[in-house]
């Protein structure tokens, strides 16, 4: 896994949440601050599949795993390792 992976993820998260604050504060609660909702969640799933080729099934998705930018990075790193 190369060093820029978290940066790439944050770029996608910032684009979907429409704020750069997600890069400044990795513990920002995304759903509580209404930066993320269901539609944004699936939008990020689509962008992640396009960017990294990782397919995430909404029917098996737990919202808590994507609660903050840091959690999203951790979740994706885990998925990429499983896939690798």
């Amino acid at each position: 896994m190369n060093a820029s992976f978290p940066d790439k993820v944050l770029q996608l998260v910032a684009s979907v949440a429409e704020t750069d604050e997600v890069r400044a504060n990795l513990d920002l609660p995304l759903y509580d601050n209404q930066l993320f909702d269901s539609i944004r969640t699936v939008e990020l799933m689509i962008r992640i599949e396009e960017e990294f080729g990782v397919k995430i099934s909404p029917a098996e998705f737990e919202r808590e795993n994507w609660g903050t930018p840091r959690k999203i990075i951790a979740d994706l790193e885990r998925r990429m390792q499983v896939n690798a």
């Binding site: 429409e18 539609i39 699936v42 099934s57 029917a59 919202r63």
Partner: protein, 485 residues
């Protein structure tokens, strides 16, 4: 058709049939009738025949249905309010509609307990049946009056066209009751002895639970905005095997794309896909067309169809003259499904409603054209936008932003992606300097605005400026602001 009798008769014909499922709660037709009769008797007894509306505030509780029917059985219209609305918005709506009573699910349960026969006088054809509030351009919501006659025409058309099987349909209810798309599933279901399966906010927030609920719903008739179905389609398992009984998808409220329709036809080979169109002012929907492969092959932008029988839809120019096929103009609707107007606002009513050949008519503010005898919707003529099917006047958001003490001036524009509005952006001139960061300012404004407007009306992007660029006339240059995004 006699809508109320038709609903009531299921209490005798199929007393234990399930009228509504919401979470783990079930309501039978027998209970619906007994409780709505009792509530109506209470309302008539307590308020006499003043015909003031009954406001109903809740989410997807079975008591909502009891309250709606209880109100009309006491010859009063109801005003449906969803708990997603902030208190200040609710207060504005209550100030305009001046209800005799504000009901909540708990209160309905309390008032409908003791079996009492319904009052003798209930809603008549020309009485208001419900009053639905939508965004108004000055920041004041406006209440669209729908009569029993309007609703009966709409439901009769749906029954004729869709040929629902009595006592065997399950309708998916995805829109809140304060959004008139829900009127389609609610009354088509109740009139045919069907089951209304409500998808609550909690389910939408949790995709895993949502798909499980869809799978367990037994739904035969899907009613939603295209956005909702698009979201569901991201899951590959969302297909006939997940919702095996599904026979039709009915879409209204925003543009259905050819891509969404094609994917649905592919994944649900046993289901039909219907595209419908119509403003709240003409009772939910006025035109419809079944989208099949031949329509998909012929048109890249999908038609919204043909008018319901007995109603005329035409396209006019600025002078009000009817235009020929393929000419673009404003869509006008004339017929028995057109509302008598806005509650307490003769000024707003006179601006858009008129009489045409002895029938009520409504200038929609929508642009469109006819091609091959099919209507095509081509956007708005004014600054109204649709987000996930919700109708939003940009002026409404601006007026509520400017009402905040820290805001001196505001311009709100839609953020357009792939030709459709995706969210709102607010350009704000603050009243004073602030040491807060951009993010802190934005969150503070969203929080304050969220006390006045429902969450779907909140801008997602905020741009803070010292002053707005001006047009030659000295007005804020909206086009330049929108371009700067």
């Amino acid at each position: 058709m006699n809508l109320i009798d038709q609903i009531d008769h299921w209490a005798l014909a199929a007393p234990n049939a399930i009228a509504h499922i919401s979470g783990d709660r079930r309501l039978t037709y027998s209970e619906l009738r007994r409780r709505s009769d009792a509530l109506a008797a209470h309302l008539a007894d307590r308020f006499g025949d003043d015909s003031a509306p009954i406001a109903v505030l809740g989410h997807r509780e079975p008591e909502m249905l009891i309250a709606f029917l209880g109100a009309v059985k006491s010859r009063r219209p109801y005003v449906p309010l969803d708990t997603v609305l902030p208190l200040q918005r609710i207060d504005k709506i209550l100030a305009i509609s001046r209800p005799a009573l504000l009901l909540t699910p708990e209160y309905v349960a309390e008032l409908s307990g003791a079996p009492t026969p319904a009052p003798a006088t209930r809603a008549q054809r020309d009485d208001p049946f419900y009053i639905l509030f939508t965004s108004g351009s000055t920041g004041e919501p406006k209440g669209v009056i729908i009569t029993l006659d309007c609703l009966e025409h709409f439901v009769a058309w749906m029954l004729e066209e869709q040929k629902f099987t009595p006592l065997s349909e399950t309708f998916l209810n995805t829109a809140p009751f304060s959004f008139d798309l829900s009127v389609m599933d609610l009354y088509c279901s109740l009139v045919t002895g069907g089951t209304l399966f409500s998808v609550s906010r909690d389910l939408v927030a949790n995709p895993k639970m949502l798909y499980r609920a869809l799978g367990n719903s037994g739904a035969t008739t899907w009613v939603s905005t295209p956005s909702f179905a698009q979201m569901c389609l991201v899951e590959e398992k969302f297909a006939q095997a997940m919702v095996p009984r599904i026979r039709r998808f009915l879409f209204c409220g925003e543009t259905l794309t050819a891509q969404t329709a094609a994917r649905l036809l592919e994944r649900f080979p046993q289901a039909q896909v219907w595209n419908m169109y119509g403003p709240t002012e003409a009772t939910v929907a006025t035109t419809s067309v079944r989208i099949d492969y031949s329509i998909l092959e012929t048109y890249s932008a999908l038609p919204v169809g043909r008018a319901m029988p007995g109603t005329d839809v035409f396209v006019v120019n600025d002078a009000g003259e009817t235009l020929a096929t393929n000419e673009r103009g404003e869509i006008v609707i004339a017929g028995p499904n057109v509302s008598p107007g806005y509650l307490g606002r003769p000024d707003l009513t006179a601006a858009v409603f008129f009489e045409h050949c002895g029938r009520r008519a409504y200038r929609t503010g929508d642009q469109g054209r006819f091609r091959d005898n099919l209507l095509f919707f081509e956007g708005r003529m004014d600054s109204q936008v649709k987000l996930s099917g919700y109708r939003i006047e940009l002026g409404d958001v601006e007026a509520n932003l400017v009402a905040l003490p820290s805001v001196r001036d505001a311009v709100v524009t839609p953020v357009i992606k792939n030709g459709a509005a995706q969210s709102l952006a607010a350009f704000v001139v603050l009243s004073g300097r602030s040491a807060a960061s951009h993010f802190e300012l934005m969150q503070a404004l969203r929080r304050q605005l969220g006390e006045r407007l429902p969450v779907y009306m909140l801008p997602r992007k905020f741009v803070f400026l010292d002053a707005f660029p001006l047009t030659a006339n000295g007005k804020a240059d909206r086009a330049r602001l929108a371009q700067s995004l």
